[in-house]
């Protein structure tokens, strides 16, 4: 399914998408954002947890899930470490002291920004329409090992697009994971083919 050509193209698209995302997030946060080069792979759902465990460094995590729909359909997970994103509160208009609700709201807010920018970037490259559902809290400070145990991925295959974020001047890092079911991966691949043809 993920031939070399397609993978290369998808990688290129993701790179450009993330580049744009990084620029607009930096605009929003007013600080320079570092994004890793996206890692793209297709894995059986059973391997999603181990794959995640390889890249997520923290052992206690909070996670937000956000569904996207329209020409691209799937779920994005944003996985935060122990400090979540509390250090960014003031950049998104919060006062100093965060209660639990504000902490979670901030988490949802930031996830929404990251997911929207990254997926929006990819969709734009491929000329695909995309919409987003409201993000929701999937894990509130639980061990990483339990993250996908409690929330199993019900699909036969998952496209994993992993991106790491960090900010230079703040202690903050998170991983973005895009999960898509098999049929959707195929749809995406056809869009990639079209994109390749149009070049």
């Amino acid at each position: 399914m993920l031939t070399d050509d397609r993978k290369e193209a998808l990688q290129e698209i993701a790179n450009i998408g993330m580049g744009q995302a990084g620029a607009s997030i930096a605009q929003v946060l007013g600080e320079f954002v570092q994004l890793s080069i996206p890692r793209i792979l297709i894995v059986p759902p059973a391997e999603v947890p181990t794959t995640l465990a390889r890249t997520v460094e923290e052992s206690t995590v909070s996670a937000v899930r956000q569904a996207f729909y329209s020409d691209m359909r799937g779920e994005a997970l944003v996985i935060f470490g122990q400090h979540r994103c509390n250090d960014l509160a003031d950049l998104i208009g919060y006062e100093a002291d965060l209660d639990h609700a504000a902490e979670v709201e901030l988490l949802l807010d930031l996830s929404n920004i990251l997911v929207g920018a990254c997926l929006g970037g990819i969709a734009e490259q491929l000329n695909l329409a995309i919409g987003f559902s409201a993000p929701s809290l999937m894990a509130d400070a639980i061990p990483l090992s339990r993250l996908l145990q409690d929330n199993p991925v019900p699909w036969t295959a998952a496209l994993l697009v992993e991106v790491d974020f960090s900010l230079e001047k703040r202690s903050f890092a998170c991983n973005l994971v895009i999960l898509m079911p098999e049929a959707e991966i195929e749809r995406l691949m056809r869009a990639v083919d079209l994109f390749l043809e149009s070049l």
Binding site: I92, G93, G116, P135
Partner: protein
């Protein structure tokens, strides 16, 4: 506008009358759309709001945060959301379930939608505000119910603990009661040897005095002849034999006292921290038999049919209690002299102990009640009906089975 689009008036009407709050602002935060829902709940007619800065119309809004949020939608050209779960409301709107609700304002989830103009730039941000009050109230009730359930669960756990504690106490009292019951028998068992050791000492004392007389006579007027005469008189040959016999008998008697005191101590240890340990059940049976001997020996002959059994992990003092209950029951069931058989053996990776008697047997209709607490067929004062019930719990604690 294409021919497939709905008539503009219909669109306007729907936007205005939909049961969802809809408003839009431009990049200066000036309100450009304010639908009926917003007007109704805020008390601000569109005429008073449109064209004005949102935050000037509603100074109570969390300006820093909300303005940043809206600006981000302009910048990122992407959706943003708020949820009633984290932020119950943006606007403080009275809701229409003030009595039953238990919430003080309409609970709102909002979606911030970028509205692009000509070209790619976002010209407006349109906010739709959904009423989640019913969900929130239901959610609150559900949380309450869950909290109640959890409280109940905790209470039940506490009760179970108390029950276990009570059961343990019952076990201890039953044990103390049976020790009390045994006390008379044990006293008798001790009294017997003490009695004959005592009378042996009487005889020994007389013998020693006789021996003194022989020795003292050596210094008397008749000297050796006198001593020999007295030796004749006291039947020295018999005395010599009897002293040895008396000493041996007394020593045996004292050993018996020592053993029974030891057994009683083993038996009656009411361990506060019950120690699981490896023990041989045959030793337990013997100890218990010894302590209960006075209850049994007048009624039954004891036959032991012990097989080869390995040591098992157990609470020996509690198993002793079980064995005592079974032996005493057996003895009490035998009106005429009978036989009490103690047998042991292995089966699979377990061991079994059987205590049987040749007494009355248990009536079939009682068979499923004998393990009930306070079930007894014995007269008041003789049986409390706790023996088998306590035994049942002890065996259950050992992951074993007890059956008639």
């Amino acid at each position: 506008m294409s021919e497939l689009s709905p008539p503009p008036r219909l669109l306007d009407f729907v936007v205005d009358r939909l049961e969802v709050g809809i408003f839009a602002v431009d990049a200066e935060m000036k309100v450009v759309l304010w639908n009926h829902f917003m007007a109704m709940h805020s008390g601000h007619e569109p005429g008073r709001v449109i064209g004005r800065n949102l935050f000037e119309c509603f100074p109570e809004l969390p300006r820093v945060w909300l303005e940043k949020k809206i600006r981000n939608v302009f910048l990122l050209k992407n959706y943003a959301f708020t949820s009633w779960e984290q932020r119950p409301y943006l606007f403080h709107f009275q809701h229409n379930r003030p009595v039953t609700g238990g919430v003080d304002a309409i609970q709102q989830s909002c979606t911030f939608l970028p509205v692009k103009g000509a070209g790619d730039s976002v010209e407006h941000v349109c906010v739709s505000l959904y009423d989640f009050t019913d969900t929130a109230i239901f959610h609150g009730q559900l949380s309450h119910a869950i909290a109640d359930l959890q409280r109940e669960k905790a209470e039940q756990r506490r009760l179970i603990e108390k029950l276990e504690e009570a059961q343990n106490q019952l076990l201890q009292s039953e044990k103390l009661a049976s020790i009390g019951q045994l006390a008379a028998g044990v006293a008798h068992e001790i009294n017997n040897p003490v009695g004959f050791v005592n009378s042996n000492f009487g005889a020994l004392e007389r013998y020693v005095l006789d021996l003194f007389r022989v020795i003292d006579a050596l210094d008397g007027p008749d000297g050796l002849a006198g001593a020999q005469a007295i030796r004749q008189q006291i039947d020295y040959a018999f005395l010599k034999e009897d002293i040895v016999a008396l000493f041996k008998e007394s020593k045996d008697g004292l050993d018996r006292v020592k053993r029974i005191v030891q057994d009683l101590r083993d038996f009656s240890r009411v361990d506060s921290v019950q120690a699981w340990q490896k023990a041989n059940l045959q030793t337990c049976l013997d100890t218990t038999l010894n302590v209960a001997t006075n209850e049994i020996k007048h009624r039954a002959d004891v036959v032991k049919a012990y097989g080869q059994i390995p040591e098992v992990d157990c609470l020996p003092s509690q198993l002793n209690q079980v064995f005592l209950n079974l032996m005493v029951n057996a003895a009490q069931a035998m009106n005429q002299r009978g036989t009490l058989t103690l047998a042991t053996g292995c089966e699979g990776d377990g061991v079994w102990v059987s205590i049987s008697d040749t007494g009355s047997g248990i009536a079939p209709e009682n068979l499923n009640r004998i393990f009930d607490p306070f079930f007894t067929t014995k007269p008041v004062g003789k049986g409390t009906g706790l023996g088998l019930s306590v035994s049942y719990n002890i065996i259950a604690k050992h992951n074993g089975r007890i059956e008639p």
